[in-house]
Structures are given as C-alpha cells and as structure tokens.
Amino acid sequence: MIKVFQRKSKQQFTVDLTQIYDVLVIGGGNAALCAAMTARKAGATVVVLEAAPREFRGGNSRHTRNLRYMHASANEHLTGPYLEDEFWEDLYRVTEGHTNETLARLTIRQSNNVGAWMARQGGMFQPAMRGTLHLARTNGFFLGGGKALINAYYATANKIGIDILYDAEVHDLQIQDGRFVAASFVTGNTTRRVRAQSVVVASGGFQANLNWLKEAWGQPADNFIIRGTPYNQGRLLRVLLDQGAKPVGDPRQCHAVAIDARAPKFDGGIVTRLDCVPFSIVVNRHARRFYDEGEDFWPKRYAIWGRLVAQQPDQIAYAIIDAKCIDLFMPSVFPPIQADSISALAAKLELDAADLETTVKAFNAAVRTGSFNADDLDDCATDGLSPPKSHWARPLDKPPFYGYPLRPGITFTYLGVTVDAKAQVVMQDERPAPNIFAAGEIMAGNILGRGYMAGFGMTIGTVFGRIAGKEAARYAIG
C-alpha cells in the first residue's frame, strides 16, 4: 500500500500503486467520470487521476449547466422531442459542415435518452424554468448546475469502488510498441508511477495553457480570458501528439464567447457572460460596428461572438444599449458603464466621441420602424446599413446609455487527437492504439471542427466517456 497525502485538500487517500489497474482514467471531469463509472460497472478496477485539488475537481464540467441529448418524446424535464435529423442539422449548421459525420451521428444516436442513464449515476435534473433560456426542449438542465452533477458522479464513483487521487497531474505516458504501459504523475512534490492495462485520456483541451494559445494566435491571445478551469494545460494532448497520435482540428478553433472584459483571467464561469448583444449595437475600439448583432436568437449566436471580438483590434468591443433595453436580458455580474449621452459614454469607454456619435446616428437613421418583440425574430431591422442589424433594431435614443466592454472568453480548444468509433486514439499511420482511449474536450475537435451549440460539449463527453470506459474495460478484462 502506498499512502498518498493530498496536501491541498488536507485529505489522505490510500491507493495501492503496486497493482496493475485494469483502467487508468486521466482527468476528473464529466468525460473522465463517465468513463470511470462505465469501466468499473463492467467489472474493471479503475483509478482516476485528477490534476485539480478536490475543491476544484471536475474540469470545465463544474461550470456547465446542461446537456443536449436526443429524445423521442417530452419527459419530466424536457418539453418536447428532439430527434436525430434535427440534432444533426443543428450541428451541421453551427459547424458549417466541419464535422466527421460518422462520429457526429454516433454521438447523437448514443445520446438517445442519456439523461436517464445520468440519473441512474446520481445526476439530477430540474424542470424547465426561467433560466433555461430557449433550450428547454433540447437540453436537460442539471439541478444546481455542473458542479452538482460532478459531485453526484464522484459520490457514485466512491461508492462503487473507484480509486480517486486529486492533485495528481499526469506528466507522461509510457507507451511500448504502440501500447500504453504506465503513466507518471506528480502529487505534492513527488513523482509516482501507475500501471494499467488500458488508459482513458479525458484531461481536456489546452485553453488554460497561455503559451500554447499564444503559439496558435500570436499576440491577440494575451487578451483572451479563460472562462473555465486553469487546470486544463493540454499536457496530455501534447504527450499524445508527441508520441505519434494523429491530430485533429485547428489550434485556433475553440468554443469562444464574448464575455465581460472585467472578468477574472481564469475560472470566471457563467456569470461573466453578457446577453445584451441582440439588443445592442456592438462597436470596436474605433467605434465602428462589425457584425449583425440581431442575426438570430442569442442562444444560437452567442458562440460566434468570441471569435468576432478576437478578430477586432486589441480584441476588445463594446456593446451599447439605451434605457429601453436594460431590462431585456439576464442581469450581469458587472454593472454597466452608464452615461446620459452617447459622447459622455464614449469618454467613459475611452472611445472617440465623434466617431461613436457618427456610428449611432447612422444606425438610428437606418432603423426601420417595426413592432419590437424580444421573444421573436421581429421585424425591427435596419435598411441599407452595413453590416445590417436584422432583428431587434431600435434607435439608441433613450438615456441613460449603457456600455459593456467585451473580450473573447475561451471555453475550450478544438485541437485534439483523432479517435475512431471505439474512442481509440488513432495514430499517424491511421492505426488505432489498442489500449489508448480519449474522451471529452481532448477529442471534441473530431466532431466540432468549428462553432458550438449549447450543451453539446457535455454530450460528446458523456457519450465518448461511456464508449471509452466500455472499450477500455473490454480491452483489460475481455
């Protein structure tokens, strides 16, 4: 028996590292736990190595809130059916076809009624309420959010006898003749080694690794805010790629939304997001508009705004509304910057007052009178303005005026390892590694080449976590 003292969580866990586990799971978020629980229930001995301390366990899953899954009919928490074709079309649209149809359809089909499976592992859902946006039909909302789901999964994992170590960051994999043999990890200041028959890598993307982000994006990366866990350093992604795994996805592609520029650098989570864009005009630091703010409902458009802002000078933008709109969107954690005139607001936002007034005047002049309806794709649009505003366009004329500064908020990166339908990591010679599996963000780029739709990261993590867990256990114990 080797005792491993978990310094930060002040807890001691006793784990026998002399044994050869059936399955090693690297990571501690949704995908990792789905893999671990599935493998354990298939009869395998399982150890989970989570890089974060116990309080911050769960990777980005602790910041999530819902999961999109296929279902043939309404249930206690979903208001209507969501079938494969509609799901696929939604995915095709947001990715603009940058997806692997085989794996995408596999994900969709395997997500069928996965809410019931989650509930059996302790997951809790809430009925559709005010905070469930426009997603009450397609997405199951976790009671209490992602951290509550993760807590429930950890409780189940403990109960069914999965060994879990926190503060245990895997640094390297020992791979011999294309087969995984062991992993070395650091806990406290000690490097240790754990052996297993097979490994599931579910350790997330590389978005918290600022140097790597900078490699991909150059200088603009300095202005990115990381919405989630600081523990997703992409270390295992690098290790796998260095050991010959076939990459998938563009290192610049990611799930990025426009969030409040005042957000903390890491881990700000959901409260930093801003929902005011459809009711606003958004200008860059030259006080110019650059995209149709009212193109579609916000839940269908929020995921493109991170990139849009990232492409602006200094990666900053400002959403500006007037008194008519201040109550139309979810309140934000940061108070709006407020002024009684456009020029005064410009001064507070450090924009050129004359330029902003010109932009607002041009916008106001182009607004066609319609009947405003925040809950519908209404007919309030601009005429002859470039870029246009297609819906919810109303003149900015009622003081006070409000401004929110926006920055790109990175949720997770899409560069990953290629996998097959068994979640096996595919090597550069196109052959799958027999006992190396991947699930979650680290392989989401197979399915999400670009774009994003709400709750789909959790779908990929859950479906591929289960597949990886099942296949890893099958490899280990037959």
Partner: protein, 369 residues
C-alpha cells in the same frame, strides 16, 4: 439596522447568483431573486428569511471558497437573517439577547427553574412537595391552580403581543404593504409550503445536511419537532377544556386525549430535537454562521428538556418525585416561553412571513402571464 457589511455581502452574493441562476431549481430564494435586477435592503432581508438553509446551493456552487469569489450564500443570508431578528425585537432593550443568545437562554432557563422550584417549596412546604399525590387535583396540591394558570396565561398574551409587533416590524422592513400579508391565497400557499417544509427538500432530493450528501433526515427531524410541539400545545389546550368546561381536573388517565396527544408529541419533540442536535454537532460549519450556533443549540436543548421533563413527569407522577418534576417542568416551560420572542423561535414567524411574500409575488407573476 443591519450592519453595512452584512448587507453589502448579501448584495454582492445575490448579484453574482442572479447572473448565474444555476441553483434556481433548489428553493424559492433563487426564483424570488430572479424577479429583481437590483436588490434593495428590504429585498435582501426578505430573501435572507426565505432561505431555509438547506445548503444545497453551497455545495453546487462553482464560486464557493476557495474560488476567488468566495461565494457562500447560506452563510451570507444567515448572517443577515440574524440581524433581522435583532432589529425586530420588542422591547428594543432586549435586542442584546439575540447576540448572546446561547448563554442568555441558558441562564434565563436556569433562573426560571430555580424560581419555580423555590417558590413551590416555600409556599407549599417541603412535606407537600416531596410526598406522593394521587387522584384528582394531584398537581394542584403541589402548585395551586391559580398560580399555574395566571402566570402562563399572561405569558401567552405577552407572547402574542410581542410576536405581532415583531411580525409587523419585519413586514414593514422587508416585505411591503400590510394588505399583501392578508392575501388569502398567498397564505394558503405559504401554509402548505411551511407544513411540508417544501424548501428543506431542495428540489426533491433533500438538504446537503449535515454534509455534502443529499438527505431528507433534517426535514423529517424538523417535522418531528414542529408537529411534536403542536401536539403538546394541543394536549395542553384539550386539558384546559377538560378542566374548565368538563370539570375534569388533571391528572388524566393514560388513555385520555391530553395524555395520548402529549405523549406522542413529547416523544416526537424529544426525538426531533435530539436528532437535530446530533446533526448540528456533525454538520459542516462552512455554510453556517458561527454567530447563530448558540441560538440554535439553546433552543433545541430547551425543547429537548421540555419534552424530557414532561415525559418524566408522566412516568413518575405517582411517586414522591412528582412535585419536584412538576416544578422543574413548569420552570423549563416558563424559560422556553420567556425566551421565545428573543431567540430561534423567531424563525418560524419570519420565515412564514417570507413564504407569504413569496407566494404573493409568484401568484401575481402567474396572473400577469
């Protein structure tokens, strides 16, 4: 007035929560919060009393310590709740009792036991107190009927007055128009929420009490205390009716309504208060405020002693211990009643008022949809 610091922290917490809303399925606090974009002091006091301290939101919170936001909703609301208790105390000179509630309740109770015991011995004489009394009027031979009825009746009237003043102050400070409190449907819904302890059920899965796991144990123990207490009150009332109108003086046979109701109620109260004390000793103290610990424990111990002494009195009423036990029991009950408006019992009144306000708001919202 609540301190600025406590109000500011409650406001900071609610602003963050209102931008998140992940916990809206747990209880009434979050939907009530979502009806607002900013929070006046009165809103915060109302939300603080609507919180049942189930703590589900604390363990589900992505911003809970050690996150840099240090979000601790149950603690922030508990601290403010305590200050609303203090602000509503009447007469105001007793407000200090809220701050040092544990020692205050303990010393008042000890004093009241000593006083009743001493007066009994002095007035009835040791031979009467320490001998066996059987049959009709046995209790009144130790403590005369008038001396039992008059102090407790006056105390009851005093309690009603103090609670009405407190309720009025709370409603004015935290809720709104007096007329809203008389909303019949809102009271119906609030009563139903209170009688089921709906919001100690945390969206159906229970509280995270005493620790991170979901459990209904606290809700069931609270039910034991609440309904036990109610049964004991009913038993006393039935006994009073027997005595005044049916001319059947106490003590009553084991198979009579006063004794049956009192016994069931007493046992429920005993089990409930002991269970809640046990849970409190084991609870994770992070989502609680240490400032209310004395108050919580004091009230539970007093309830426990009330039921314990009452049950012992029943068991030993035909022995020479009866006189002493009667005096001790009445002394404890006196202590319980005297401290009631200046301690944990306030939560029952304020939480009910907050539930009425919540029901009123949500009914109005349903109507406007």
């Amino acid at each position: 007035m609540p301190s600025d610091k406590v109000l500011k922290e409650a406001d900071r917490v609610m602003v963050i929560c209102n931008a998140c809303r992940y916990c809206e399925g747990f209880c009434a606090v979050f939907p009530a919060m979502e009806r607002r974009r900013t929070f006046e002091d009165r809103d915060l006091k109302y939300l603080a009393n609507l919180c049942h301290n189930c703590r589900d939101c604390y363990y589900a919170c992505q911003y809970a310590p050690p996150h840099e936001y240090q979000l601790n909703v149950p603690r922030a609301l508990a601290e403010l709740r305590l200050e609303t208790y203090r602000d509503a105390v009447w007469p105001g000179v007793f407000a200090g009792l809220i701050k040092h509630n544990g020692p205050a309740v303990a010393s008042i109770t000890v004093l009241s036991i000593a006083a009743v015991l001493l007066l009994t011995i002095v007035f009835s004489g040791p031979p009467t107190v320490f001998s066996t009394h059987l049959g009709e009027n046995a209790f009144y031979r130790v403590i005369p009927y008038a001396l039992m009825v008059i102090p407790f009746s006056s105390l009851a009237i005093y309690l009603i007055v103090v609670f009405l003043i407190g309720l009025n102050r709370f409603w004015r400070d935290a809720a709104g128009k007096p007329a809203d409190f008389t909303d019949f449907r809102a009271n119906g819904r609030a009563l139903w929420d209170a009688l089921r302890l709906k919001y100690l059920a945390g969206g159906g899965y229970g509280c995270n009490y005493p620790d991170e796991r979901f459990s209904h144990i606290r809700r069931w123990l609270h039910h034991c205390v609440f309904y036990g207490f109610l049964l004991c009150l009913t038993s006393t009332t039935v006994a009073a009716i027997y005595d005044h109108f049916l001319h059947r003086p106490a003590p009553y046979p084991v198979l009579s309504w006063p004794v049956v109701l009192g016994t069931i109620g007493g046992v429920a109260l005993l089990v409930g208060s002991a269970g809640l004390l046990y849970l409190k000793a084991r609870m994770d103290s992070q989502p609680a405020t240490p400032r209310s610990l004395g108050m919580d424990i004091g009230f539970l111990v007093l309830l426990f002693l009330t039921s314990l002494s009452g049950l012992l009195l029943l068991i030993l009423r035909e022995t020479p211990a009866m006189g002493t036990l009667l005096a001790v029991h009445l002394g404890i009950v006196m202590g319980l009643f005297v401290t009631m408006p200046y301690g944990k019992f306030i939560h029952a009144i304020f939480r009910y008022a907050a539930l009425v306000k919540n029901a009123h708001e949500s009914l109005r919202e349903d109507n406007s949809r």
